[in-house]
């Protein structure tokens, strides 16, 4: 079936409108970051770089940024190791309960984030664990595992096993085959999984609000609390723009490197 010219132009216009809808809020927010006025009235009366300096000089923002970086890096590292190990097990061995394991790994993102959040918080409180950066990392690592897992599984599915067998035939032991053959084949998939996990962790708030406790702020939590204070909004705009960049750039890079992330399961 060939769509008629009329149908094609309607579809083209509809697609353009949806893309416009997806990007309009991001563009407006980016413009607000340069707003000369303290007020959020549209359109901004003029443009300035003033608020970037003010954001950079704000110690609360700097602390929150460091916390976010630390949490995202550590959670990504944990998720990458766990996800890769699980992917190797599920993709390279046949065993009873294989489907259950892949289902269990997806569960933390299939159920609403508020459930993950309240479940972790209740558990930490019940066990008497103090909330802070460590509990944030535990939560982030839990829902990031599936991202690394998905990327590595997709790559393993495509990788041929012949080089591994050849390596074993040539006398390489299990470690050497893994180090010299399997790992290099997985490298870009792991990198793109890590970038996506980092982006996911860096801007997470639904679970983080439950696991952060009163004393610890990440960038999203700082924005969430500062939104309530009108005098802080010019700086919030700048931080929001930076947060957007920090989460978009890794995703873009992951797309370029991995190309395995066509799947939706985040």
């Amino acid at each position: 079936m060939v769509e008629s010219g009329w149908v094609r132009s309607v579809l083209r216009i509809a697609a353009g409108l949806v893309i416009g809808f997806l990007y309009l809020p991001l563009v407006i927010l980016a413009i607000y970051a340069f707003n000369e006025s303290r007020l959020m009235t549209w359109p901004p009366p003029g443009l300035t770089l003033h608020w970037f300096g003010e954001a950079a000089a704000n110690p609360a923002i700097r602390d929150a940024f460091l916390n976010s970086m630390l949490a995202a890096t550590t959670a990504t590292a944990i998720a990458l190791v766990l996800g890769t190990l699980a992917a190797l097990a599920v993709q390279r061995y046949a065993f009873f309960g294989r489907d259950t394991i892949s289902f269990m790994l997806v569960l933390p993102i299939a159920l609403p984030g508020v459930i993950t959040g309240i479940a972790l918080q209740t558990t930490f409180k019940t066990l008497g664990v103090n909330l802070g950066l460590i509990t944030i990392i535990v939560g982030h690592a839990t829902f990031c595992v599936v991202v690394a897992y998905n990327n590595v599984v997709a790559r393993l599915r495509r990788l041929s096993r012949t080089p591994e067998e050849a390596s074993a035939d040539l006398g390489a032991d299990t470690w050497m085959t893994f180090r010299r053959i399997t790992l290099p084949g997985l490298r870009t998939a792991m990198l793109s999984g890590a970038l996506l996990a980092f982006a996911l962790s860096f801007d997470e708030i639904i679970v983080t609000l439950f696991t952060a406790g009163a004393g610890t702020q990440t960038i999203p939590i700082w924005i969430f609390t500062a939104i309530q204070r009108p005098t802080e909004l010019p700086v919030v705009n700048v931080v929001a723009l930076v947060l957007m960049a920090v989460s978009v750039i890794p995703v873009y890079l992951a797309q370029r490197i991995g190309g395995e992330t066509a799947g939706i399961v985040r």
Binding site: L22, L29, V114, T116, A119, T126, D203, Y252, I264
Partner: protein
């Protein structure tokens, strides 16, 4: 590259032991499997499933009347009685599920044309660009997008400016339809991607066969294309529905309304874990039921 080669520089002792372990493992695939699975399984089972169990238990635990703290292993149904006895909790549950359904329908309607364009009309180059254009907002900065909508919807924001020539005032930040609009916006890419993938999988020969047999374009669409993308549609709806069902930031920031997530969050902030836990059972049960129906409709193969 260099990191991988560095392994050969390990001291002979360690290498010797490594070799022996490797040789032992080589003949034992079961042991390899156990080693691989040990840490990821332990993490998910203990951290995630373990906390779900603790959450479930908390729903049946009493609160100490004096200290206000949860009294573990002191069983009671008080939390459930409180939820069932208070009509506000019912209203909030219905409001949340209603908005989640509306968001899902809206996203299906908005996603279909662009997904169809990407899969069957756009040139390969344009298609690649569109996929990236849809995936970037999917992954990026949930809170920033919500905040951006707050600036658009507020009394003197962008929308008020667009509407002012028509003599219509801006919506302000206390209207329930705002939550519908912003949630539809946030989860739209989650619907576009699976529908696109589903449409792309339909072989051209099927559509040619349909038209050879005399079906006009409209008939082919209704009788061939639509039934084949239903699983993908359901797959996308799992995300739009589940994510809307659990959201508590959007209703708070753009609609000044309470959703299921707000009840859970507010109660946990007050230390009232049994009520928060008992109310969490609602989205869990709804989602499990939804997932079971979705599986019957073949959505899991389209995820």
């Amino acid at each position: 590259m260099t990191a991988n080669d560095a392994g050969s520089a390990t001291p002979p002792m360690a290498a010797g032991r490594g070799r022996r372990v490797a040789r032992w493992l080589h003949a034992r695939p079961r042991a390899q499997l156990r080693l691989l699975l040990l840490s990821p399984l332990a993490w998910i089972a203990i951290v995630y499933l373990g906390s779900l169990v603790v959450l479930l238990l908390n729903a049946f635990w009493a609160k100490d009347a004096f200290t206000g703290k949860v009294d573990p292993f002191h069983w009671t149904l008080k939390a459930f009685e409180e939820i069932i006895g208070n009509p506000v909790y019912r209203t909030i549950a219905l409001r949340t599920v209603g908005i989640a359904v509306l968001v899902t329908l809206t996203d299906a309607l908005l996603a279909f044309p662009i997904a169809y364009y990407m899969a069957r009309v756009a040139s390969p180059r344009k298609r690649g660009a569109l996929i990236v254009a849809v995936l970037l907002p999917l992954w990026a900065a949930y809170l920033v997008k919500t905040y951006a909508w707050r600036t658009i919807l507020q009394g003197n924001g962008f929308l008020a400016w667009v509407l002012s020539p028509l003599g219509i005032a801006g919506p302000g930040l206390d209207k329930l339809p705002n939550a519908w609009l912003v949630l539809s916006y946030l989860w739209l890419p989650y619907m576009i991607v699976p529908i696109y993938a589903g449409l792309e999988r339909i072989p051209n020969s099927l559509l040619e066969a349909s038209s050879d047999l005399g079906a006009r374009a409209g008939t082919t669409f209704r009788r061939v294309i639509l039934p084949l993308v239903v699983p993908s549609l359901v797959a996308g709806s799992i995300f739009t529905f589940s994510l809307s069902l659990g959201d508590y930031i959007v209703p708070d920031l753009v609609a000044n309304a309470k959703f299921i997530g707000n009840v859970i969050y507010d109660n946990s902030a007050l230390g009232n874990f049994p009520v928060a836990a008992a109310y969490s059972m609602l989205p869990i049960v709804v989602m499990v039921a939804y997932l079971l129906v979705a599986r019957r409709l073949g959505a899991f193969e389209s995820l």
